[in-house]
Structure formats: structure tokens, C-alpha cells
């Protein structure tokens, strides 16, 4: 095992990684921006290095500063968390060049998989079913229209360099295609410096099902079952659960086994997630692979008893996988919801501010991952994720009851601070969600329906927030 690991992230995931390191007896060092000087992870780390100002471009996205910090603290490895540089193959390579173990797949594998189009091609060759559409980028609007005609409308035009909610446009009719194609290319060029796009059939009422895999550096791999993350608003996940509900066990097994085969074929190493869309006919289609720990990894931990960040560290240290597939059992149901400091009533706009009260829920089978505490100042600089509440229960109904109970307990208050808790509670109340028969269309349906506001006096509206640093605001 490593002697010192540098945590190159902030917020709840930095704390999550710190916890794993401490539990394994690894010395912890963390980088931080000037805005995070008072953060919990800085307080708890064995060492902390200030690497830049609040702006993430000059701090958490600053590869040179991070490598310099790793050198200063004598770290052997860098854990990138999620977001920021976690899927940046260049950063992984810079780490390698400086004698640091990047905790993730080898740089070449990352580079191949970060490009969505290339990942599609690789996974298709590895035997994974893709949604109908182009595998290679389409060279021009005419080619795009050809693909769209072939697969049928609606289609989605996606940037190969895009991440999650950004760089994609849904096209409902042939007349819209040319403009959507041009716009997506331009947006992709602006956002990612890469204007290649591809076209695939758009499944509006599908389930987002993903598979957690662990692969070591000796060619072994296991899958840890499925998660359903269909509760999304503009491709931002809000509620996640494991295992995916209301699908036959045989279908889930097939998806999980297929995913693991694909991961092993492309030489994946570490903790990764393969995302699929499952249509109404229970057919599944590969979407993309994420080469890092996911925000929603705790639901898998709770149903398997396996600490995924521990396993990331073991794998990065060269330890062979400690389980065979038949030793991994899923117990019960785990559900996570994200508590973002956003106002669902104002189109989920971020609401920074000082937390005057912050008392997370506790009790049986209830886990909270958060970097916040009473008195914490939510700045306008980063991601609005404030806390994750994760519960476990022997069955889904009890798990949902438990999550409702936990959210009712969660006491968060500060001038101008709003959270997604009221909206999540609407999701948990929804009849289709309760039955497990929901799709990625759930959130739009709820947003279209009139919200039943609690009768409490509305809190005063905050002053408009400063523009958040968007680099970190991608789907995970």
C-alpha cells in the first residue's frame, strides 16, 4: 500500500477518499484552493497544500500545481475523485511522468474511453450492444441526416468529447437536424476544443442502468451489480438506487456480465461504471464508460458491503482483486439522493450562502456523505452538491420509507440557501417511482405538474448568485 496519497479534489468526495486512506493506514495529503481553506478535509488531512485561488482552472484543474503539491508532500499516488481531472488522460500521463501513480486506468485506456465515439467503437467490438446510430463521428450534416433516417427520429447529436449533460442535442424531426448538427458542433468546439459529433437514436422513455465493475492490473475483474439512475434532470442524476428495480434478475445479470466482459476486453483497470439505456422491451444499449469513482457509488457499497475506494487503492497498489465473482452477494436495496444547494422553484439555480443550521439525519442504515457542517459557507465557485443521503433496507419499500424519514430529519437552514430536498421528496412520493416503473422522463413529468408547495411562508429570495465555475458541473 502507498505511504502517502494526495487527494486532488474537494467537497464530499475528497472527504470520502480521506476516510478510505485513514482506514487503510495511508497518510493523507490534500490540495485546496483559497476558497476551501476552512474545509473539513483540510482540517482532517495529515497535510494540506494550498495550490491556487478559488477559480478551479487555477487550482483543482491545475495539473502542474497538483503534481508540484504531490512532490512537496512526498506522495506516491494521486486520487482524483470525480469531476475535475479525474478523467483527464493528459493528467494521468503527467502523473506517470512524474513517478506518481494516478488512481485510475492506464492513461492510454483512459484516452481511448474518454472519447465517446472511440469508446463506442471499442465497446461495439467488445460485443456490447449500442443504440442504433453512427459509431464513427459524422463528417457533415448530410451524413448526419443519413444516419438519422436510417435509425429513425428522434435522434440525439452528441459531441464525442462531451460529458454527461453537455454537448448533446435532441432532434425530433428531419427539419431540425441541419441546425442542431451545426449548433452542437459549434458548442462542442467552444466547450471542448473538439467539434466531432455522432448521431444515435434517442430513447426518451428509457431506464438509465449502470454497472459497477472492479478490474485489477492482473486481468481480473468482477461486477458489483447494477444501479438505476433514471431520475435525472437535464442528465444530472438526482436519485440513484441499487439494484435496478422492476427488471427481471436475468436481464440485470446479462447486463452486468456483458459490461464486465466489455471492461476487461478494453483493458480497463480500477473502479469503473458502464452506463446503459434499457428500453421498454428490456433491450439494453451501451452509452458510455466512466473511468473513476461515481457520485452514486455508495449504493453499491451498501448492497455489497465492499468499500469501493478501498478497492481503488488496493488495485492501484497492484494488489490482485480480493473477491471472485461468486463471492459477491447483493443484499437488500440501497437508495441515494443528492442534496444540492439549488432552488427547484427557480430552475434549480444554485443558492450559495452560509449554513446557520446543518444537522444531517442519522440512525439505522442511514449514511450521509457531506463536507458541510453548521457554519459552513457554500461559495459560488464549485459544484452545488452539499450532501448525499444513502439508506439501506431489506426491501425497496422500506428503503424508500427510510429515505423519506431521513430527508424529513435533515435540518438545513441559512439565508437564501435552498436545497433539492423538497423536489426529491416529490420524486419519492410519485406513484410510478414507488412502483419502480419509472424512466428518464420522470423528472420532466414532475416539473410539468404543478408543485404542491408546503404552506410555510416562502423564504426571501437570495441575491442573484455569481456565475458558478461551470467546468466542474458535468454529469457524473
Amino acid at each position: 500500500m502507498f505511504e502517502t496519497v494526495l487527494i486532488a479534489n474537494r467537497g464530499e468526495i475528497a472527504l470520502r477518499v480521506l476516510r478510505a486512506c485513514k482506514e487503510l493506514g495511508v497518510r493523507t495529503a490534500v490540495v485546496y484552493s483559497a476558497a476551501d481553506a476552512d474545509s473539513a478535509v483540510v482540517r482532517l488531512a495529515d497535510q494540506a497544500v494550498r495550490i491556487g485561488p478559488a477559480s478551479s482552472r487555477r487550482s483543482y484543474l491545475n495539473a502542474a500545481a497538483i503534481v508540484e503539491a504531490a512532490r512537496q508532500v512526498g506522495a506516491q499516488a494521486v486520487h482524483p475523485g470525480y469531476g475535475f481531472l479525474s478523467e483527464d488522460a493528459d493528467f494521468a500521463e503527467i502523473c506517470a511522468d512524474n513517478g506518481l501513480t494516478f488512481i485510475g486506468p492506464p492513461p492510454a485506456v483512459m484516452a481511448a474511453l474518454a472519447d465517446k465515439s472511440s469508446a463506442r467503437a471499442l465497446m461495439s467490438r467488445a460485443g456490447l450492444p449500442l443504440s442504433p446510430g453512427s459509431v464513427a463521428p459524422v463528417p457533415n450534416a448530410a451524413a448526419a441526416a443519413e444516419v438519422a433516417e436510417a435509425v429513425g427520429y428522434p435522434v440525439i447529436v452528441k459531441a464525442t468529447a462531451g460529458g454527461g449533460g453537455r454537448g448533446m442535442t435532441v432532434v425530433h424531426a428531419p427539419g431540425e437536424l441541419r441546425r442542431a448538427y451545426a449548433r452542437t458542433r459549434a458548442a462542442a468546439q467552444a466547450a471542448f476544443g473538439d467539434d466531432r459529433v455522432y448521431v444515435e437514436r434517442y430513447l426518451s422513455e428509457a431506464r438509465h442502468v449502470e454497472v459497477q465493475v472492479l478490474c485489477d492490473s492482473h486481468g481480473n475483474g468482477v461486477h458489483l451489480g447494477t444501479r438505476d439512475c433514471s431520475v435525472q434532470r437535464r442528465h444530472q442524476k438526482l436519485v440513484e438506487e441499487a439494484p435496478a428495480p422492476a427488471l427481471p434478475a436475468a436481464v440485470l445479470d446479462t447486463i452486468a456480465e456483458t459490461a464486465l466482459r466489455g471492461a476487461l476486453k478494453v483493458g480497463f483497470v480500477g473502479a469503473g461504471t458502464l452506463e446503459f439505456l434499457v428500453d421498454a422491451e428490456e433491450q439494453f444499449h451501451f452509452l458510455e464508460i466512466n473511468c473513476r469513482i461515481q457520485v452514486e457509488h455508495p449504493v453499491t457499497e451498501m448492497v455489497t458491503g465492499i468499500d469501493l475506494v478501498h478497492e481503488q487503492l488496493h488495485i492501484a497498489a497492484g494488489v490482485p482483486l480480493r473477491w471472485r465473482q461468486e463471492e459477491i452477494h447483493l443484499h437488500g436495496v440501497a437508495v441515494e439522493c443528492r442534496v444540492n444547494t439549488e432552488d427547484p422553484e427557480r430552475d434549480f439555480a444554485p443558492t450559495p450562502g452560509r449554513l446557520e443550521r446543518f444537522t444531517p439525519p442519522g440512525g439505522p442504515f442511514t449514511r450521509v456523505d457531506t463536507h458541510a457542517s453548521a457554519g459552513y459557507l457554500i461559495g459560488p465557485w464549485y459544484d452545488s452538491l452539499l450532501a448525499k443521503v444513502i439508506v439501506w433496507a431489506p426491501d425497496r419499500e422500506l428503503a424508500l420509507n427510510r429515505l423519506e424519514r431521513a430527508l424529513e430529519e435533515f435540518d438545513i437552514a441559512g439565508p437564501g440557501v435552498h436545497t433539492t430536498i423538497p423536489f426529491v421528496r416529490r420524486v419519492l412520493d410519485d406513484a410510478a417511482f414507488r412502483k419502480g416503473r419509472y424512466t428518464t422522463g420522470l423528472v420532466d413529468r414532475l416539473l410539468a405538474a404543478p408543485a404542491q408547495r408546503p404552506t410555510a411562508t416562502p423564504a426571501p429570495r437570495p441575491a442573484p448568485a455569481a456565475e458558478p465555475d461551470v467546468t466542474h458541473r458535468r454529469t457524473r
Binding site: Y32, A34, A37, D38, V42, R43, L44, A45, D46, Q47, A48, V49, R50, I51, G52, P53, A54, S59, A64, A65, V67, E68, A69, Q72, N98, G353, R354, G375, L377, P415, G416, P460
Partner: protein, 202 residues
Amino acid sequence: MTSGDGTTTVEATHDAGVHGEEALAGVHGEEALAGVHGEEALAGVHGEEALAVLRRQAQHLIAELAGPVRRIRLRSGPAVLEVEWHPEDLARADVPLQRAEAAPPGAAPAGAPAALNWPPVPGRAAVRAPIVGTFYRAAEPGAKPFVAVGDLVRPGQPVAIVEAMKLMNEVTADRAGRVVAILVEDGHPVEYDQPLVELDPA
């Protein structure tokens, strides 16, 4: 201790000597506080929030300052927080703002190194590290240092180098002044924004 906001002021007086009629234990400072509070009542919660920020920053400041402090004053926009202590209470100047709170028991000293506790003397300025890296006083080994204590510097004059990832980043003075102290040993690591060279502004 600047927060990036142009209107933020922090003063700390280390002087333990005599003091005038205004030094009525705490009352002066609290009066200022009260005035702000009254004015800000109309503006809703912003004043309270600003004061909460001031209180927090004051706690940090007190925790970071070495030696007995007589008076601190923090201003951020319209909000002011001022505390003054009796000279006979210097040894416990931390009590009203609970110094203990700023250093959680059992917490390892992480984060900001001692050198970030700056400035030691009000009115002094610092040239700070623009990047995390290694501090060098000279352009190359054996060369003459860019500056020495007592030198006068002009705005824009190079005073040091911070090396990061084998790139040499020239550090320049942002104002004129006399070099009072070199705050970091040659070849030692520095963090972002760490004071490197102390200036007495001209």
C-alpha cells in the same frame, strides 16, 4: 487574510503599550458593531451575515496571530467588527472570541503553514507566491539574489523565482518599497499565495 474583496480591511495592533480613552474594554468595538447592526436591520439578513463572516475571520486572525493582541478591527463593506482589550488582559485576549474554537482539540496542524499568518505588522506588504512550487532567491544556483534586505524595489521588479514542474515563474513586486525580510528559505517549498518577501511600502 484578504478575501479577494477590494473593500476588506483587516488591522491588528500588537502594541502592548499605553492606550487612550477609547480603550474601554470591548465597549468601543461593540458599539461599532451595534451601530452597524442597527443600520443593517433595514437591509435584512445581509448585515448579520456580514457580521458572522467578520466574527469568523476575527477568530481565525486571533488564532493565527502570535503574541498578545491589543486591538483588532475588521471591515467588509459596511460591516465593522472591532475588539479592544485591556492591557492587563493581554494574556487572555483570545477569550472573548474563543481562541480554542479556532484550533479544534486533537486536530493535527494541517493547512496553512505559519508563514501564511501574515502580516505581523500593520502597514507592511508582501510579495506572494503566484503558484505552489519551490522558492528561489536567485535566477540560478550561485547567482546573486534578486533582492536582499534593505533593498529598494520598484513595481514590476523581479524579487524571486518559484519553480513548478521545472518551469521558472518570476515573482515580481506589485508596488515600490524597501525589503524588510525574506520570509522563506532558499529552495524551500511554498504554497499558493504564501508571503515570500516583506516590503515596507515606499
